[in-house]
Symmetry: C2
C-alpha cells in the first residue's frame, strides 16, 4: 500500500523532472508567484489543518519546543511567502555555462549546469520546510518528493496541495511537487531504496533522523546538520573580542547547528580569560563543564566527561578545555568536531593561517562567530541545509548546490583514432 | 582478522590524510618521481609477482581476456611509469581559490579547493589500476586505500609496496598509500561500512562490482562505468559522416563504456542508411539486432528483444531501431540509457540543440563519436573513471573531481545579530 504510493509518486516525479529540466526561468518564476498567492489565499485552510496537528500533538504529549516548531500562524505563513519571493528573485542556476574549451581536434566542449533530477526531502514536524523545499527545488529545476513527519501531516498536505495546484496552473509539469501522505516508517525506508526514481535524498532534521537516513539509504544522500563546533581563543587574542564571539556563538541561538559546544582556551591566557568568560556566561545561564586544567582555575566547574567533547548540546551548556597551544587545539577539533564550523580568535596571522589550513571543516573562521555559517549570511539568498560531508557540497547549500552538470560536445565528424 | 586489517589501515589513512592535505606540491611531485623510479627499479620483482598471479589464474581457468588484463610486461610497466609522469605534470588542484567575496558586514569569504580525505578504490584484477589510483589520489592530496581483486593480489602487493616505500622516503606521510591484502569478500564489505575512516568509495570495474558497491555501501560512492550509449542518425544527417561515426563508436574499441550499443535511425532516411551501415558493419563482424521497422528494410536481421535495448553488450553487437523522429529518439534514450554518452548526427541546428537540451547524460555529442568521453580526450590529463551519477561529479573524472572545498572566513570581531 505505502509501497505503491512511493513507487507511483516516484515514477511520476521522474517523468516530471525530465520536462522540468528544460522549463524557462520565466515559467518557474511565474509559478513561484502563483504559489505565494496560493499560500496567502489558503492561509485559513492551512492554519485550520495545522490546528488539527497541534491538537493531536498536545494529546500525544509533544514538548513545548516541538509544538512551537509545529505551529503555523499568519505571521509564519507570511514568512513562508517572503521566502518564495526571495527564491523568485535569485538568478536561475540552470543552463549556466560553467566552463568551455576547444580541443586540438576541433571538438568544442561546454560544461553547463543542469538540475539533479528528483530530490527527496525527509524531514520532521516543521511545516515551513515543506514550502521552503518546494520553492528551492523548483527554482533549480528539480522535481521534489517530500516525506515530512507524521506530527505535521495535515499542515503539510494543506501547504503542498496549495502550492502544487498553483504551480500546475502555471505550466509546471504534473508530478513536480509531491508529498508522501502515508507517514508510516515504511514509506521513508522505501524512499531510501528508490534509486530508480530519486537522484538525491536530503534529510533535514535532528541527528537521529539524519543518521538513520545515512545508514539506511541506497539513494545518494547529502548529510546535513550536526554541528559540534568549537571556538579556540589563541594566546594573542583580543580578549574583549573573544568574549563577544564566544558569547554570541554559544548564546545567540543555542539550538542551532552553527552554535559552539566547546571552548578551547590557550593555557597562556587561561587564568585571565576563563574567569571573565565564566562571569559573562553565568549571567546568561550557561552551564560550563571543564577539563582538569580549567577546573584548576575555576574549581567550581562541573567536570567535563569524554562524552561531552563529542556532544552537540544544542542548549546552554559549554564544554571548556585548556589547550597547550594551537597544535593541541587543532588536534582536539579534528578529533571531536563534525567538520561544520570552527573559529579561532587571534591577532597572530600565522596562527590564523595554520588554523584555517589544518582544520578540516566546511567553514573555518578567524575572529568571527561560527553563527555565520548559513546560506543567507553567506549571500546565497537561500539555504536547503548545511552539508557536513565532503562529496558534492560542503557547508551552506543554496540553489547551485541543488544542481549537477553535463558536457555538451560539438563536432564536425570527429572519430577517435 | 580481516576486520582488523580494514580498521587499522582505515585509522592510519585518516591520520595520514590530515597531514597530506597540507603537503606542498613540490613534495607530492618529488614523490611521484620517486614512485616512477621505484616501478622501474622493481620491475623484475613486479613481473615475477605477476607471474604467480598468472599461473594461479590459468589453473583457475580465467578467460584469456581476463588473463590479458592481468598480465604485466615491461611495456605495461613503462606505461604505468608514463602515467605517473603525466600526473606529476598536471597542475595541483589543492589550495586553488574557487571563488571569493566580501559581505556587507566586512566578512571576507573564500572558497578553496581541498582534498576529499581518504578515498577507497574497489577494483578487479587489473594491476595497472593500482599504480594509476595511487598517483591520482596522491596528487589531489588524498590518502588511498586500495582493495583489488584476489586474482591480482601478488601483483598489487608488489606495486603498492614499491610505490608506498618510495613515497614515504620522499616525505609523504605513512599510511597515505595502503593496500588491503586480505581479499576475502568481507574486507570489501567492511570498507563499504567504514564511514568513520573513508570519505568516498570509487568502484572501478564491471557492472556487477559497481552494482554491489552501490547497493551495499554506507560510505558515499561515486558510481562509474556502465555505458549503454546510443547514436541517433537524424533525418538531415550527412550519411557519410554518420557511417564513420557509427562505425567508430561501435567498432574502434567495443569493450569500453563509451562505445555505442544501440543505433537509432530516423524513418525518413532508414531505407537509404540502413543497408549502407549494415554493409559496413558486416565487414567488421558486427551482429545487428533490429526492431520490426528496421527488419522490414533488412529482413535478414536477427530481431532485437526488449532486453537488448537495456544491454551494454561490450562486444560487436549493435541493436538497431527505426524512430519516427527526434522526440521518439530522445524518449528511447532517456528510457534505456545509462546517462553516459549519447550522440546525434544532424545538419539541423535546432535538432542538435533540442537533443543536447533534452538528453539526460553526462556527455551529449553533436556530430562526433561517443568514444571521446574520456579524461584524456577531454583534456583533463588523467582519469579515475567516468561517473554516471549526478551527485558530485559527472562524466570523466580527473584530479579536480577528487577534491572537495572549504570556506575560509576572515573577520574582525563580527557576531551575528
Amino acid at each position: 500500500m505505502s509501497n505503491q504510493e512511493v513507487r507511483q509518486k516516484g515514477a511520476l516525479a521522474k517523468q516530471a523532472a525530465q520536462k522540468l529540466s528544460i522549463i524557462s526561468t520565466s515559467i518557474k518564476n511565474a509559478a513561484l508567484d502563483k504559489m505565494a498567492a496560493a499560500l496567502e489565499a489558503n492561509s485559513k485552510i492551512i492554519i485550520a489543518a495545522n490546528l488539527v496537528d497541534l491538537e493531536a500533538g498536545k494529546k500525544k504529549g509533544l514538548s513545548s519546543a516541538l509544538l512551537d516548531r509545529l505551529t503555523l500562524s499568519e505571521k509564519r505563513i507570511q514568512e513562508m511567502i517572503a521566502g518564495l519571493n526571495t527564491v523568485k528573485k535569485l538568478p536561475d542556476p540552470i543552463g549556466e555555462t560553467i566552463n568551455e574549451w576547444k580541443r586540438i581536434n576541433g571538438l568544442k566542449i561546454k560544461k553547463i549546469r543542469v538540475p539533479l533530477g528528483v530530490i527527496g526531502i525527509i524531514y520532521e514536524a516543521r511545516p515551513n520546510v515543506t514550502a521552503d523545499s518546494i520553492a528551492l527545488c523548483l527554482k533549480a529545476g528539480n522535481a521534489v518528493i517530500l516525506r515530512g513527519g507524521s506530527d505535521a501531516i495535515n499542515s503539510n498536505i494543506a501547504i503542498a496541495k496549495a502550492m502544487a495546484d498553483a504551480a500546475y496552473s502555471a505550466r509546471i509539469p504534473q508530478g513536480s511537487i509531491q508529498l508522501i501522505e502515508d507517514t508510516n516508517r515504511e514509506t521513508a525506508e522505501e524512499l531510501m531504496q528508490a534509486r530508480e526514481f530519486i537522484d538525491v535524498l536530503i534529510p533535514r532534521g535532528g541527528k537521529n533522523l539524519i543518521q538513520t537516513v545515512v545508514q539506511k539509504s541506497r539513494v545518494p544522500v547529502i548529510e546535513t546538520g550536526e554541528g559540534n563546533c568549537h571556538a579556540y581563543v589563541e594566546k594573542t587574542a583580543d580578549l574583549k573580542m573573544a568574549l563577544e564571539i564566544v558569547i554570541n556563538a554559544k548564546c545567540q541561538r543555542p539550538s542551532v547547528c552553527n552554535a559552539i559546544e566547546t571552548l578551547l582556551v590557550d593555557e597562556a591566557i587561561a587564568e585571565k580569560f576563563l574567569p571573565q568568560i565564566k562571569a559573562c556566561l553565568n549571567e546568561r545561564q550557561v552551564e560550563l563543564r571543564g577539563d582538569e586544567k580549567s577546573r584548576r582555575i575555576l574549581p567550581c566547574l562541573k567536570p567535563a566527561t569524554q562524552e561531552d567533547w563529542r556532544t552537540e548540546f544544542l542548549a546552554l551548556i559549554l564544554a571548556v578545555k585548556v589547550v597547550s597551544g594551537i597544535d593541541d587545539a587543532i588536534a582536539h577539533i579534528n578529533k571531536y568536531g563534525t567538520k561544520h564550523s570552527e573559529t579561532i580568535i587571534t591577532k597572530d596571522k600565522k596562527a590564523a593561517a595554520k588554523f584555517q589550513a589544518e582544520i578540516d571543516a566546511a567553514a573555518v573562521y578567524v575572529n568571527a562567530s561560527t553563527r555565520f555559517t548559513d546560506g543567507f549570511e553567506f549571500g546565497f539568498g537561500a539555504e536547503i541545509g548545511i552539508s557536513t560531508q565532503k562529496l558534492h557540497a560542503r557547508g551552506p547549500m543554496g540553489l547551485a548546490e541543488l544542481t549537477s552538470y553535463k558536457y555538451l560536445i560539438e563536432g564536425n565528424g570527429q572519430v577517435r583514432k
